[in-house]
């Protein structure tokens, strides 16, 4: 992997050369994933930018609801989709609640893309094991579609995805497609089923150990609530994965997105500037455990 502070390869899309000025984007479609989560499809108002804008799976943007404020969310669509962008929002705070009140046609501000993204060079030619919980599928979903759209560059794909209940599952339309895809081993699980649920029941780390994907020439990409991540890394270690073979994307309160406002640090590492994608090997070497 590239040095974590090397961001020279990243393209910058600066409005008027000022990194803090947002571009205007328009909400084109809203999907209610579950009662607390919505996916927004959006596009740049500026047509030139629509053509030119590129990003990498795993990168994030700063989204503004004008008058309310700005918050970071990953781009949840794949860079292989060129006609629009997507981000998914769980209603948890001031800005996310404001976002949930908006309708199609509303204008937002967007700055980005920021952060390092998943290391595609490192993933190519490998067996990929995606482990996600709840809305943690959002950043992985960008990578999963990216990988499926370049299927011959990667070996096997396992996706282990779980949510608290069947109603909490996000991106059900994707889960169905991946379930039918013969080149993908899709495993969906819930912590607690309901009367109609006929699928698997069990916590993600436990189901992961039951599915037991081989660690040989494999990389596991993990994202979910912190409690799931904390139990998933040891489960992967028991399956023979080394810390170098585990990737995750971390979440922090990132205001500026560019390593200046100070709040997203873990020791000397800034999640916005040096991440948000880290290997478990990197995380284990962090000075601080404040992640």
């Amino acid at each position: 992997m590239k040095g974590i502070t090397d961001i020279s390869h990243r393209r910058r899309f600066l409005a008027g050369g000022n990194v803090y000025l947002p571009h205007i984007v328009v909400i084109e479609r809203i999907i209610e994933e579950n009662p607390g989560v919505r996916t927004f499809h959006f596009n740049f108002k500026d047509e030139k930018l629509r053509e030119e804008f590129t990003f990498e799976s795993g990168q994030f943007g700063e989204y503004s609801v004008f008058g309310i404020g700005e918050a970071p969310f990953c781009i949840s669509s794949s860079p292989t989709i060129r006609d629009h962008l997507e981000f998914a929002v769980q209603k948890v705070g001031r800005i996310t609640n404001a976002l949930h009140r908006l309708g199609v046609g509303t204008e937002l501000g967007f700055r980005g893309p920021y952060g390092n993204g998943f290391p595609l060079d490192f993933l190519q030619g490998k067996n990929l094991v995606f482990v996600a919980g709840g809305i943690g599928l959002a950043p992985l979903r960008s990578l999963i579609w990216n990988v499926i759209d370049n299927r011959d560059k990667y070996k096997s794909i396992d996706i282990i995805y779980g949510a608290r209940s069947p109603a909490d599952l996000c991106f059900k339309y994707d889960l169905e497609v991946w379930d039918k895809d013969k080149t993908v081993n899709m495993v969906t699980t819930v912590d607690r089923g309901d009367e109609t649920w006929t699928g698997r029941v069990g916590l993600v780390p436990k189901v992961l150990e039951e599915v037991a994907p081989s660690a040989s020439n494999a990389v596991a990409i993990v994202c979910g609530p912190p409690i799931m991540i904390r139990f998933t890394f040891p489960a992967l270690e028991r399956l023979g994965f080394t810390p170098e073979q585990m990737l995750t994307t971390l979440e922090k309160r990132m205001k500026c997105g560019i390593g200046k406002c100070g709040r997203c640090n873990i020791g000397n590492v800034y999640v916005c500037r040096d991440g948000p994608v880290f290997s478990y090997a990197q995380i284990k070497n962090f000075i601080s455990s404040e992640y």
């Binding site: 409005a15 000025l21 309310i68 922090k252 100070g262």
Partner: protein, 342 residues
């Protein structure tokens, strides 16, 4: 050899008036009892008698406590974003202390790194710094432990040294040299003047008696980073007021917020502080909810993380956080009491 100039102290008013034609001249000023660098009123040079250092660090002149980033308004076509009007007049800061000039050089690293910060750099790159050596450092000052001398600086454009009834003027940068070339009314300094300045600098240097040992500080902090008991003890009397961060010349953390009145709004940034629990709060969790973690963050950011990233300690020994702390928290004692067995 660059020729050195001098000026009579009583002529400082004239000099500042001359510079005022080209620059917005900022000089030490007392505002509601708080010393700060503020626009010079065109006549008052009494600060030469009372000025030791400002309470508000000069970072505020480049990175204000609150700053409009842009305004936005909505009409039938949608949102329009507009940058604030900028003051075209360049700032000349008269009397900046070597510690505070060094602090700006440290801030430059963050604001220049990777993505340039246009608000800070526009003000910074057009400014002229005229340094004034300390003659009367505070007991809380410890700049000499951080490689800074109270009366010498390479981080200013011009450096003035008190040599009695006069100031010796040294050109430090090309920018300073150009300014002197365009400034009339200065006298050539004599060898005696230079000898007197040298002596004055040494005297000032020796007046800074508080010391810390920065040798191996990164390793020492790393060694006790996880010593929760130690940090709990260190943080016990801290009241998380954040004054040490607001008045620190090298602290730069900020928040970004919107204000909106009837479809007309603006985005602002304002100083924020790692002393506050809300600073890192996320909807579901907070990595630095406990006070000891926040105190550890402040100490380690300055003496461990910043050196790891930029190879310089983000402290200049200006002593403000010691002088102005309401509970007498003292960073020099913290650094001297690290529980590391050598």
């Amino acid at each position: 050899m660059s020729s050195k100039k001098k000026i009579n102290k009583k002529d400082i008013g004239k000099l500042l008036s001359r510079w005022s034609q080209q620059f917005t001249v900022l000089a030490p000023s007392m505002e509601s009892g708080v010393a700060t660098m503020a626009e010079w009123d065109g006549k008052d040079t009494s600060f030469l008698d009372w000025y030791r250092n400002t309470v508000i660090p000069p970072k505020a002149n480049f990175f204000p406590p609150m700053e409009e980033m842009f305004s936005f308004q909505k009409d039938r076509e949608g949102y329009h974003i507009e940058l604030p009007l900028v003051n075209e007049h360049k700032q000349l800061i008269f009397g900046i202390r070597p510690c505070d000039a060094k602090a700006l050089a440290i801030l430059d690293m963050t604001f220049e790194e990777a993505y340039e910060d246009p608000y800070y750099l526009a003000k910074r790159n057009s400014a002229v710094l005229v340094g004034l050596g300390c003659t009367n450092p505070y007991d809380s000052c410890f700049c000499t432990s951080l490689g800074i001398s109270p009366a010498e600086s390479t981080d200013v454009d011009l450096m003035l040294t008190d040599i009695g009834d006069q100031f010796l003027i040294e050109e430090v940068t090309d920018k300073g040299k150009e300014l002197i070339a365009k400034t009339s009314g200065l006298k050539e300094a004599t060898e005696t003047d230079e000898a007197r300045a040298k002596e004055a600098k040494e005297t000032s240097h020796n007046k800074v008696t508080r010391k810390i040992n920065t040798e191996g500080i990164e390793d020492k902090l790393l060694a006790c980073f996880d010593d929760e008991d130690y940090w709990e003890k260190i943080a016990a009397k801290c009241i998380s007021c954040g004054i040490c961060t607001f008045l620190c010349p090298t602290c730069y953390c900020f928040d970004i917020n919107d204000e909106l009145v009837k479809q007309q709004g603006a985005r602002f940034r304002s100083w924020d502080s790692c002393a506050f629990p809300l600073y890192t709060k996320m909807p579901m969790e907070n990595p630095r909810l406990e006070k000891w973690r926040r105190v550890r963050q402040r100490v380690c950011h300055k003496f461990e993380f910043y050196p790891m990233t930029f190879n310089v300690i983000a402290c200049t020994g200006c002593g403000r956080c010691i002088r102005l702390c309401p509970v007498n928290w003292d960073i020099t004692r913290v650094l001297e009491s690290l529980p590391v067995k050598v």
